[in-house]
């Protein structure tokens, strides 16, 4: 037992592998937030007047709001005037191809194991890379545009497709939704925009790697995905951030809109810097992700593997408005050291015969705290709504915590809501069994954890699942006994 704990502690001392800083000229603005700063951001991005107005309106709301205190996380007060709200790699000229991308930047991606060349050649994945705040390279755009798919940065969409942006931006996550969504609405710098026209099945996985780079710069992405009637898209989001001493605020907003018979599959692998073993540094990840199944028979599926960030506050949700629509949430959250995660989902059943499924797996190690928080709501009109929720927690060691906060609100008698929750520890018996077969403790823990998370991992696209498995293994390296 003692040895087990020691090994667990070793696991907790694993260094973050992506901690490096890229030396690229960065165009930043001074710290702090004010109307003037927002105007400056908008101006730097050469935005139309309506966008600036929208931002200022959000800012005005934000000033009246208070930071939420209900999550099961603890952190010192954030000084919002001590954050840089805009940082873009200095543009020397317009980039026409990857060859023109700063080699230093390309090396960064190589260190991350996501060389664009390789991505392009091997996987058929279109990658829209966001380095700090501005999109650097967008590949496969032409192939996609032939079938009418728009996949570009949100900044570009604001310029090129203002009607779509005006129509849908803030339609799923209103700027007034919460403190961090209001902040994002005021200062968001970049992100992705996808539009899948009617009847089109997007032939490739759309993928974005976000990377926080400039020191002290909060990153506020904004992603908007619209799937028209009978369309399908699978979107991958992966994130890594370099090592930092200061905590970095990250408050993204993602909005998904699925029209009739449309399906959106949104997968995230997040391994931002979690802080060191003493709980110093790390990313604060306060994200609002929400999709609406606007049309009948539509489907939205969230899959997330969260291994990073010092604090995660994130509830990818689905509003099931269309009749017969389906919402899914599959999640693995791994916390180590002093990491804190308060994550889960909301399934809001409005339409008839709507179904939702929640599978949340929390794994806690070190002195970390891992909470599942989920809401299932069946409204008055939601006849025959069905929900199945399963929340499992796995504890590594005896200094970590796992918590489950399910909220169930049912206003329709025909609705059926099921919730199952389990908490288990990696048993000494399991470890002994593996070790007696010649599998050392570290490999045994990886095996057991991957087995625990398998149901969720199976939801990820193949290449992504492999990456996610590696990430879990890295997060646990030096692990348990």
């Amino acid at each position: 037992m003692k040895e087990d704990l020691n090994l667990l502690e070793q696991a907790a001392q694993n260094d973050y592998k992506y901690g490096f800083v890229t030396n690229i000229d960065t165009d930043t603005i001074p710290k702090g937030l004010s109307e003037a700063v927002i105007e400056l951001i908008s101006k730097k991005k050469n935005e139309p007047e309506w966008m600036l107005k929208w931002r200022l309106k959000a800012y005005a709301h934000w000033l009246k709001m208070e930071e939420p205190t209900w999550p099961n996380v603890k952190y010192p007060p954030i000084n919002y005037q001590d954050i840089i709200y805009y940082a873009a790699p200095k543009k020397k000229e317009q980039l026409n191809s990857l060859d023109e991308v700063d080699p230093e930047l390309l090396r960064t991606f190589e260190k991350l194991g996501i060389s664009l060349d390789e991505q392009k050649r091997l996987s058929g994945v279109a990658v829209d890379v966001v380095m700090d705040s501005v999109s650097i390279a967008t590949s496969f755009k032409e192939q996609l545009s032939e079938i009418g798919v728009i996949f570009c940065s949100i900044s570009e969409a604001i310029q090129q497709h203002p009607d779509l942006v005006k129509k849908y931006l803030g339609s799923v996550v209103p700027m007034t939704d919460n403190y961090f969504s209001a902040l994002n609405s005021a200062v968001f710098t970049d992100g992705s925009f996808c539009y899948i026209p009617k009847g089109v099945r997007c032939p490739m996985e759309l993928s974005t790697y976000f990377r926080i780079n400039a020191e002290n710069s909060g990153q506020f992405e904004r992603t908007l995905i619209i799937a028209e009637d009978e369309s399908y898209v699978s979107y991958l989001e992966g994130c890594t951030a370099p090592m930092r001493d200061e905590n970095q605020l990250h408050a993204a907003v993602v909005e998904l809109v699925a029209m009739e018979k449309a399906e959106i599959k949104y997968s995230t692998v997040q391994n931002w810097y979690p802080g060191d073993k003493n709980g110093q540094g790390g990313i604060y990840n306060f994200v609002t992700k929400r999709g609406i199944c606007a049309g009948n028979h539509s489907k939205i599926s969230w899959t997330q593997v969260e291994t990073g960030s010092a604090i995660t506050w994130k509830y990818p949700s689905v509003i099931l408005k269309g009749d017969y629509s389906i919402g899914e949430f599959y999640s693995v959250a791994f916390t180590n050291h002093h990491q804190q995660a308060d994550t889960g989902t909301k399934m809001i059943h409005l339409g008839k015969n709507t179904r939702s499924r929640i599978v949340a797996k929390g794994i806690s190690a070190g002195q970390s705290n891992n909470s599942y928080r989920g809401l299932v709501r069946a409204s008055k009109q939601a006849t025959n709504a069905r929900n199945y929720s399963q929340c499992d927690s796995l504890l590594l060691g005896d200094q970590c915590g796992a918590h489950t906060f399910p909220y169930i609100e049912v206003k329709n008698k025909t609705a059926i809501v099921e919730h199952e929750a389990t908490t288990s520890k990696i048993g000494e018996d399991q470890l002994f069994y593996c070790r007696q077969r010649g599998i050392d403790a570290e490999a045994a823990v990886a095996l057991i954890v991957n087995g625990f998370a398998k149901e969720v991992m199976n939801q990820l696209p193949m290449e992504f699942a492999i990456e996610a498995q590696k990430l879990l293994a890295i997060s646990m390296e030096g692990s348990v006994g």
């Binding site: 070790r435 007696q436 077969r437």
Partner: protein
């Protein structure tokens, strides 16, 4: 192969093994019998290296190595296999993947390349036939929802795959009906080779109807109190443990 010299072991400060001596030569099958609580399973656990058991005295040589100095996994990689009385469930980990990991860890230890998928599959097929186990069981999560018989058969299958020098079978017969017992025993018999030793730990004689031991030892209160050939097991079956234990207890009281 295995030489146990004067082993004393404690659990939670209580002495369970009080000086065990036992020599097992290559190819021999030894049965350890004894009433409940005599220390049979403790002996198995001590040999496998379970950490709650503290060895306070004595030594164990395994193929000339100091067994007690080796980690749990290195004992396994050196060729010591324990068939568990209560095999452990690991949800989400397929039996096949589990065994593949085990086989390749052992190969790595021996300085061999990992088996590729084709070679591994070929080996699996062979051994599956040997111990009468089906493919469907092997694609399920290890031991999860297995019946008692399936769990024990799976243990013997793992033994077949790992090809140990010494297999310790801890109450492998417990909880088996007669058909399952026969299948499991047949599997074990097929795995008997001139250089593989087997240590059978059992409460009942019935397993020994199927697997003929070379030697039988009676363990009582942490000591081997009587050793003999398979006839000893038959005598125990007939007279019960009392005929040995009573005389021991009496002499202890004198």
């Amino acid at each position: 192969m295995l030489s146990i010299k004067n082993i004393h072991a404690n659990v939670e400060g209580k002495e369970i093994l009080k000086g065990i001596n036992l020599d097992i030569k290559p190819g021999e099958v030894h049965a350890i019998m004894g009433p409940n609580g005599s220390g049979k399973s403790t002996l198995a656990s001590v040999l496998a290296g379970r950490e709650e058991y503290e060895v306070t005295e004595g030594e164990v040589l395994f193929s000339g190595k100091d067994l007690l100095e080796l980690s749990i996994e290195d004992r396994a990689r050196e060729g010591l296999f324990l068939a568990f009385q209560y095999p452990v469930e690991i949800p989400g980990v397929s039996t096949t993947n589990f065994i593949k990991a085990a086989v390749n860890e052992k190969r790595k230890y021996q300085g061999l390349e990992p088996l590729d998928a084709v070679a591994f599959l070929k080996m699996m097929k062979e051994k599956m036939a040997m111990v009468e186990i089906g493919q469907s069981l092997l694609s399920r999560s290890i031991n999860e929802g297995f019946s008692g018989g399936e769990k024990k058969r799976n243990e013997i299958f793992q033994m077949a795959m790992l090809e140990p020098k010494l297999a310790i079978l801890d109450e492998t017969d417990s909880g088996l009906d007669i058909d399952a017992l026969r299948i499991v025993a047949n599997g074990i018999n097929k795995l008997r080779t001139p250089d593989r030793s087997i240590l059978l730990i059992t409460h009942y004689q019935r397993l020994l109807d199927y697997i003929q031991p070379d030697y039988v030892h009676v363990l009582y209160k942490g000591r081997i109190v009587k050793s003999g050939t398979k006839e000893l097991a038959l005598e125990l079956e007939e007279k019960g443990y009392d005929f040995i234990t009573e005389s021991i207890d009496q002499s202890a009281n004198v």
